[in-house]
Symmetry: C2
């Protein structure tokens, strides 16, 4: 059974996949995207380049999937019964240390995206779209429960608000976003804009 299930995509087990992603993130933090090579990933993980290319197609997709696996929020099945609960749960998914590490990593990758259109494409497919879909599911449940009006214009801007909180925290406040900051930002900005009481 296990043999059949893993053979669908490849011989790589989920544990081995997680190990590979961890090594890719390590290398990214050490040398950055532009200097990262598939040779270095192969050497660090003791795998063959052929396996890496067969499994991931290329560097951009490998990096996007490694970041996704590690990202704050995750793409779990959060359903707490309230919009505030769901948004807070998405935030609580990673601790402050992870958030600080990810914040540095994402700044580096945001710069690399400018010179690498394939990285932007991979990011959209494997990170931005799945994250937007997760937010849409959370918001659709809030509409179904009657918490948010279906025609509330802020529904189109939830990702803008969240990304703004993250990005501006580094720029204005010169500190990485913490859980406490994001929870307070959700209560002060995101929920009131959607017409939901934070109390």
């Amino acid at each position: 059974m296990a043999e059949v299930a893993t053979a669908r995509r490849s011989r790589i087990t989920p544990e081995r996949e997680a190990e590979l992603y961890e090594a890719v993130l390590e290398l990214l933090r050490e040398v950055g995207y532009d200097a990262l090579t598939m040779d270095a990933v192969a050497a660090r993980t003791k795998s063959s380049k052929a396996t890496l290319y067969r499994q991931w197609g290329g560097k951009a997709e490998l990096v996007a999937k490694a970041v996704r696996q590690n990202k704050p929020g995750g793409f779990g099945n959060i359903d707490t019964g309230s919009l505030r609960g769901d948004l807070h749960a998405l935030t609580m998914h990673s601790d402050d240390c992870q958030m600080e590490q990810n914040s540095a990593l994402m700044r580096g990758l945001a710069m690399a995206i400018h010179g690498n259109p394939d990285l932007l494409t991979a990011f959209k497919e494997h990170l931005i779209e799945p994250e937007m879909a997760e937010f849409r599911r959370v918001l659709e449940r809030a509409i179904a429960r009657g918490e948010v009006h279906a025609d509330n214009p802020a529904l189109n801007y939830v990702m803008h608000m969240m990304i703004g909180g993250f990005a501006a925290r580094s720029l204005i406040d010169e500190q990485p976003p913490t859980q406490a900051f994001l929870l307070s930002y959700i209560d002060a900005v995101v929920l009131p804009a959607l017409g939901v009481s934070a109390g």
Copy 2:
């Protein structure tokens, strides 16, 4: 009189200063921050490097002031009598073409900031702080008029919301922020978060 007024800082007239800033922005768009030299600015503007250094101290300050002079929003004396009017007026200050040009310029400079701490310092002093002060004045008048409660927690996050709108527009929607987008974002997000009706 004019002699005395301009001599306070230097022999450079406001018209000449505006010309210089325009040339700096032109060069920035052509070669980017890292490749921009004071020699090139001196040559392009037919001024001496000594004048440039006496007037601006260095490249970072010169660039920050050039961007400030050109920036959407400006730092005028907007006072329309309502928070919505003031925020819309700040946005209407520049047209979509300027906004698109500035958006590209700011992306390049945001990248340069990572490798140039003196550019970050100059940006904070000449761009971020004055812009935050302008927003604070607008918000303080709104509190004084009774439009916004003085203890509304979203007051701490107005710049986060605005920067988020700008930054996420490029990333999520793959288009530069337009006036129409920003006006709609202010009405859907910023005003409701502050407890002000957009209607």
